[in-house]
């Protein structure tokens, strides 16, 4: 089957279409590179990718305004780039460098850059749902036209904190946007062992009275369009909003996992027709961008990744002597 181009979506302006393309490419190329480094033993710990879900990360990331805030999870590398993270920043985090966003104290996608309005991911799934409800509460309280967003997978949807956070956002009617990454699996567990009705948009509306739409999560233009509409509804005082983006997790849960529990051929068939990068490339071609122009964006993204890697490799290693710095913003006994 040939690749299915993204839907036309004329509401998304030409510059944004290219910006989206850069973002999905950056995520794809970065993740491929970091996986290769991991397999060479040059990245410690583990590597989680969002292959197949780049359009969600990119589209939702671009849907935010400059003063909005977001709490991405593991699959949303492009969201970090949309908020201003450099490829060097992220490589430094994977390497555990002293100048990484976590000072080498955390690795891989477990980071966030407060200076870009990005909350540092914590692993405990569900935790960030009430956090964005609270940020949105603050915006509402202060009369600021800002929005707080987070992501969650089907698995994270089963966690108690998610329920509490959705309910608070709903009762308080605050400008929070929840993007559900429905990628069919949670680690090895298929979504139908995670919940009965696997239409999470329906569940969110039925259970929490939060308006929720489904969108094709492999179509970056559709994601941007739909999530932006949700963000603007939230911004305009219509309370919390949700978007369920449908995709497939094309890799295993993390680098070690070959995902053999997935039905044979599923990922290949998906890739052939719905690879989000190629869907957008096909649409850009239909938009009138020549092959060369498109190749140019690809190359620029590849360069951005290569340059970031080179820069990150030069960064200083973390220094054990400083390990206790910053446990407290205000240490009660600074001298001891």
């Amino acid at each position: 089957m040939p690749i299915e181009p993204c839907a036309e979506t004329p509401s998304i302006a030409p510059a944004e279409r290219l910006a989206l393309f850069r973002l999905v490419l950056l995520q794809r190329i970065f993740e491929d590179r970091v996986l290769a480094l991991y397999r060479q033993g040059r990245v410690p710990g583990s590597v989680y990718t969002g292959r197949g879900q780049e359009a969600v990360a990119a589209g939702a990331g671009l849907a935010l305004g400059p003063d909005d805030v977001v709490a991405p999870l593991n699959r949303e590398l492009a969201t970090h780039f949309a908020r201003g993270a450099t490829t060097a920043d992220v490589f430094r985090n994977f390497f555990g460098k002293a100048t990484s966003p976590t000072f080498g104290r955390d690795g891989n996608m477990h980071f966030g850059q407060p200076e870009h309005g990005v909350f540092p991911l914590v692993s405990m799934l569900g935790d960030l749902v009430p956090v964005v409800a609270g940020a949105a509460l603050a915006f509402k309280r202060r009369g600021e036209r800002r929005v707080a967003m987070t992501f969650l997978g089907e698995g994270a949807f089963s966690v108690g904190d998610t329920h509490e956070g959705l309910n608070l956002a709903a009762v308080w009617q605050v400008p929070a946007v929840f993007v559900i990454q429905s990628n069919r699996f949670s680690y090895s567990t298929p979504v139908n062992r995670q919940m009965v009705n696997t239409n999470i948009a329906q569940r969110i509306y039925g259970g929490w009275s939060i308006p929720a739409e489904r969108v094709d999560g492999t179509d970056a233009l559709a994601v941007l369009d739909t999530v932006r509409a949700a963000v603007e509804r939230a911004r305009n005082g219509n309370g919390p909003q949700a978007v369920e983006a449908l995709s497939v997790r094309m890799h295993g849960h993390a680098a070690h996992d070959d995902a053999r529990y997935m039905p044979a051929g599923m990922r290949e068939e998906f890739a052939e027709r719905f690879d989000p990068i190629e869907r957008l490339a096909a649409r850009l071609a239909l938009d009138g961008h020549g092959a060369e122009a498109i190749a140019g964006v690809r190359e620029a993204a590849a360069d951005e990744v290569a340059d970031g890697l080179a820069e990150a490799e030069q960064a200083p290693a973390a220094d054990p002597a400083t390990i206790e710095h910053g446990v407290y913003a205000a240490p009660p006994f600074p001298d001891t």
Partner: protein
């Protein structure tokens, strides 16, 4: 006995105290009031804290004064509203959360030890939240309404744990907690709410987070304590023949090691007194310190007075014998002195 929320507590809630004196509860309310008046970023989250004034009446009147955007009734969702406080702090607020009972801190435990505690160290993002926890027994609350859960947080890097034992500190530590850029757990003792009175602290006064206080000077033995133990220890000291020093930790974690050690250097004998059961609370941290650092100064093994390792029992006979009292404190110090 009068009632504290739906429990019992000693104290005269109707009568006025001596002129200029206020209760521990009023000190807490004043601290909230003053902090909210001075700083728009301060707002309150909790169950039934608005029109109802909270289970213990601590926030009574604050809704009228500050309105619904600053005194926010929540659904029953401790993980949720502690998480929400963290999120609000992320974007620059100074939220103060009320748990209805300290015991319920087991529910938002993950939000506290994962999100609140670790975020600054691993990102530089400050999380300035205060969580108010009505703690402790002596109120016939039983296993779920009378616990002293501070020990689960003592030792956890990134958190600060304060336990006021006086009216002055109820005000001053709460003001300091709200100012503080780090997450602070504020354990306010239910039994002291209306039973403890003291001079009204000066508006704006602070008790710094960290330093312990020598609540009473003495040279024969040291009692290291905090929270409800402070009044118990001071009353015992008054009745003892010996000259007993009382160290009120105020901040239980991180621990003011120097004040504890230098008191022991002076007295050479030490009793650790806490209301939490003997294998929880702050006793382990304090005795670990003493074991390692006071070795050369001790004339007797350090002693511990604390309830047995069980939840807090309900029946009056059980609870009364479970809790450390002035009498058992006196006896413990006497044993220590007799060594």
């Amino acid at each position: 006995m009068t009632s504290v929320g739906h429990l019992e507590a000693p104290g005269d809630s109707s009568g006025e105290g001596p002129a200029g004196s206020i209760t521990y509860l009023e000190a807490i309310r004043s601290a909230l009031f003053d902090a909210m008046r001075e700083d728009d970023r301060v707002f309150l989250l909790g169950e039934d804290i608005g029109a109802f004034g909270g289970a213990f009446g601590v926030t009574a009147g604050l809704l009228d004064e500050f309105g619904e955007a600053r005194v926010i009734d929540t659904p029953i969702a401790e993980e949720g509203f502690v998480g929400a406080a963290i999120g609000a702090a992320w974007v620059g607020e100074r939220p103060v959360v009320e748990l209805q009972f300290a015991d319920f801190i087991t529910c938002p435990f993950d939000q506290i030890v994962t999100l609140a505690a670790k975020t600054h160290w691993r990102s530089g993002q400050q999380i300035p939240i205060t969580i108010r926890c009505p703690t402790g027994g002596g109120v016939r609350g039983g296993p779920f309404h009378a616990g002293s859960p501070e020990g689960w947080f003592v030792g956890t890097a990134g958190l600060k744990v304060v336990c006021p034992g006086t009216v002055e500190d109820a005000y001053g530590l709460l003001r300091a907690a709200i100012d503080d850029p780090d997450p602070v757990l504020f354990f306010e003792h239910k039994r002291l709410y209306r039973s403890l009175r003291g001079a009204a602290p000066a508006v704006g006064s602070r008790t710094p987070i960290g330093p312990a206080r020598v609540a009473r000077e003495g040279c024969d033995a040291t009692v290291v304590t905090y929270g409800s133990g402070v009044t118990t220890a001071l009353a015992a000291a008054e009745q003892l023949d010996a000259d007993v020093e009382v160290v009120d930790l105020r901040t239980v974690w991180p621990l003011d090691e120097e004040t504890v050690l230098s008191s022991i250097e002076k007295t050479s004998r030490v009793l650790v007194l806490q209301e939490a059961a003997r294998s929880i609370g702050a006793a382990g941290l304090i005795l670990s310190l003493i074991a390692r650092r006071s070795f050369e100064h001790l004339d007797a093994p350090p002693a511990l007075l604390a309830p047995p390792d069980t939840p807090v029992p309900f029946a009056p006979e059980l609870e009364d014998s479970y809790m450390p009292s002035v009498e058992t404190t006196i006896a413990a110090v006497e044993r220590l002195l007799a060594y």
